[in-house]
Symmetry: C2
Subunit: 84 residues, 2 copies
């Protein structure tokens, strides 16, 4: 399954209200387990970058971080208000 | 399928050489088709943000952009040299 198919499949399972959505996923595979994990800091920077393009407040951003020993996946979900 | 499962499944299908990999995916669903697409600019900013944490050169970054009428998916794949 390609990535665009994955996201389109996900779209169908959520409410079908027409909203603008932006989703950012960062997947980090580490080779060494004792490396620092910079994803929490990166998350803050990513939100700052997005704000250059679209006005978002913190409460529009849902964040989740899944971690295993050698793999971290950071997910940011941003639902934007209707364009006026 | 959860996202972390998706990335772990992808990992198994690629060469199993232990390398550090960072993958960033931006999925943008638009409600209006005539909106400007800022993903190409965003791509440059994302690389700049990653450079705050890890030294990467342009040739380490593979980019792909999949677009349909109302959905764009930007994918950045970064394979890092072995930590010394």
């Amino acid at each position: 399954m390609s990535l665009i198919d994955y996201f389109k499949a996900r779209k169908k399972t959520t409410a079908s209200v027409a909203k603008e959505r932006l989703q950012i996923i960062v997947s980090h595979e580490r080779t060494q387990r004792n490396q620092p994990d910079y994803l929490p800091d990166l998350q803050r920077d990513l939100v700052a970058v997005i704000r250059k393009y679209i006005p978002i407040s913190d409460d529009m951003v849902q964040v989740s971080l899944d971690k295993t020993d050698d793999h971290s996946v950071l997910e940011l979900n941003i639902t934007l208000p209707e364009a006026s």
